[in-house]
């Protein structure tokens, strides 16, 4: 414990030096002025502090802290949201500056230690449900700004229930082993062969935006499996949820290599584009985080995502043989389509791009596994309301209208019509997704 305190103190000294040496983020402050402020041991001048808080507020948006640290319908940043994983149910913490129930007693170093090293203020190792595996790439400067923003929030007194870690995982030495295998602390290192914009995008995607928290495949221990070149964005089942986060590096899934930068920016910031519509967890990310990005940052992310080299999809495309039986099923699926889907999605799956997504050639429709598209039919939903698309058109839920078998048939049809080729969907797969409705 003593060692930890000394280490923290040493870090604090290093940090102070870091602050005084780093140029002002907004360009409005000179390093000299800051150094002076430090020397006289007065708090940062209020203008500088305000600027830092504002920058922190923006960065917290980009990192979507509020997404996990807010209970549905609850007070912002007061935590309490439950994250179900195979390792237990983690309850997010209150990160408002309340001393008793929040992080009112924390300082910049404590915060940095959590983000960068995945350790709590008391030195306890944090479970990686908190995405420090990505946040470790955040710069100290950005970490301090986010902390300044959190400090400026109104304290909320809210004691959240403890996390329920499955007993076999509730053992800190296991975390030490896990971290040795899957966690490498280190701030993002710019690639000098790439542009400033690309590097900014990589920083946002890999670090603050923690995209791989969902878009990476994970092994049974929850460790992210990256494959060569995929930057841990090769797609995977989202832990503890019935959603599949598609690969951002496979043209069969959600790679944007063939898109224009504008289209990618449009999807990220408005939630919808002529080629794709966000739903489920991604709609939430757009709503709470990405729509607030500056044009420059959104473009930087797009530039980076677009540049990712193609990696082979892990999924096998497995279209059915066109036997007489299969054709009969698809004909029945076509009938259901005509009755329930065609009004909006068109007689040849053409949809109304930007309003009702086209289904012909739509990769999210032909994805293996078909989890997401099953959920879309069962639960429906609106794309997020955003500044760029404030009044979205929506998809009705059909869980109460169609039986599992009917949904399997209409999906099998959609996945094999108008040039689409994908595996048939089974009644059992639909049934399994109905269970998922009870979780977030």
């Amino acid at each position: 414990m003593k060692i930890a305190v000394i280490a923290a103190a040493a870090a604090a000294v290093a940090v102070l030096a870091g602050i005084s040496l780093s140029p002002g983020v907004t360009g409005a402050t000179s390093p000299k002025k800051e150094a002076k402020a430090e020397k006289s041991a007065t708090p940062l001048s209020s203008v500088i502090l305000k600027q830092r808080q504002a920058r922190g507020a923006y960065l917290a948006r980009a990192g979507n802290c509020i997404g996990c640290h807010t209970l549905q319908g609850g007070r912002a940043y007061a935590g309490g949201r439950k994250l179900a994983t195979p390792f237990g149910t983690f309850v997010t913490s209150n990160i408002t500056p309340d001393k008793a129930t929040g992080i009112g007693d924390w300082n910049e170093d404590d915060f940095w230690k959590a983000l960068h090293e995945g350790k709590s203020r008391d030195g306890r190792l944090l479970y990686p449900a908190f995405p420090y595996t990505e946040y470790t790439k955040i710069t100290r400067e950005d970490s301090d700004a986010i902390f300044a923003h959190l400090r400026a929030l109104e304290p909320v007194v809210q004691q959240n229930p403890p996390s329920q870690v499955a007993s076999r995982y509730d053992f800190q030495p296991l975390l030490t082993l896990w971290r040795a295998a899957y966690f490498k602390p280190g701030v993002y290192q710019a690639d000098p062969t790439k542009s400033t914009e690309w590097n900014r995008g990589a920083y946002l995607v890999q670090g603050l935006g923690h995209c791989s928290a969902c878009h990476a495949e994970r092994n049974p221990l929850g460790g992210m499996i990256g494959r060569k070149g995929d930057d841990k964005l090769g797609g995977g089942q989202i832990m503890g949820s019935n959603w599949y986060a598609p690969s951002l590096t496979s043209s069969l899934e959600a790679s944007t290599a063939g898109w224009s930068i504008e289209e990618i920016v449009q999807l990220l910031t408005t939630g919808i584009s002529p080629r794709a519509t966000t739903s489920g967890p991604m709609a939430e990310v757009v709503s709470q985080s990405l729509q607030h990005l500056t044009k420059e940052d959104a473009r930087a992310m797009a530039a980076y995502l677009k540049s990712l080299p193609e990696t082979q999809s892990r999924q096998q495309v497995n279209p059915p043989a066109q036997t007489e039986q299969v054709q009969a099923w698809l004909r029945y699926g076509a009938r259901i389509y005509k009755e329930h889907c065609q009004d909006c999605h068109g007689d040849s799956g053409q949809g109304a791009p930007g309003i009702y997504p086209p289904l012909a050639g739509n990769r999210s429709v032909t994805l293996t596994p078909p989890t997401n598209v099953i959920r879309s039919i069962l639960n429906g939903g609106y794309p997020p309301s955003t500044a760029g698309n404030p009044r979205p058109y929506g998809m009705p839920p059909f869980a109460q209208v169609l039986r599992d078998g009917e949904i399997a048939l209409v999906l099998s049809y959609i996945r094999n019509a108008w040039g689409n080729r994908a595996s048939l969907v089974t009644t059992a797969q639909v049934d399994k997704s109905r269970e998922g409705i009870t979780e977030r």
Binding site: E284, R331, D347, A352, P353, P392
Partner: protein
Amino acid sequence: MRQFISLLFIAAAVSGVSDVIAAASDGIPSSKAAPAIPVNVPDTMAERVKPCTVCHGQADRVGRDAYYPRIAGKPEGYLFNQLRDFRDGRRYYRPMTLLLANVSDEYLREMAAYFSGLRQPYPPSEQVISSSTEIRQAQKLIQQGDATRDIPACVECHGKQLMGTAPFIPGLLGLSRIYIAAQFGAWKNGGVMRGQESNCMSDIARQLTIEETNVVAAWLAAQPVPENAGPADALPPEMAQRCGSIVQRSADR
């Protein structure tokens, strides 16, 4: 093997509806067809609320999992509160929560205004058999309440015509008996609003016996909706104070 099992599942699904298959004549469109013209989508609220109207139609509907009341013509503030509470999980019904996640308050308000302004004919009143004692009991509670148990008359808040009070109090006519009875039960058990401590309607519902809620529900369902009926303008000051949680909460946002 897995493929075979998959096919079995589908076969099972199809066998239940084989008569429909025989009647199906649609072919599978060829992928070589010329690119189709995008679907023409009207720029209207009616089009935008299609996800709602798949369940909420002109009449109340009983679905497989739930009861879907008609919502046309209900007070705007009331509808907005319900939408927002469903979205935020305060009023608990998972499908509504999933449907409305990530929809802004502004857009929810617009949806509420749309449905509130929608004029659709009410279904005919229900044929309910009640004894004259039951009818008297219901009428007394509705028109006078019961001061000894601090139960206000229904008409005080829900309007003289029982068509609600703008903007937050819903009407009580044009609803089915089982829906009203179910809502009474939910108010008693705290099932309508999750985790909300004190609420004037739940306090009132807890004062009523099951017998009383049943006769009131039966009487209300048996009344025709008067022509040109609409919500009352304002709550009496006493009730506005007593039901402050509803008025206050709504004014806050």
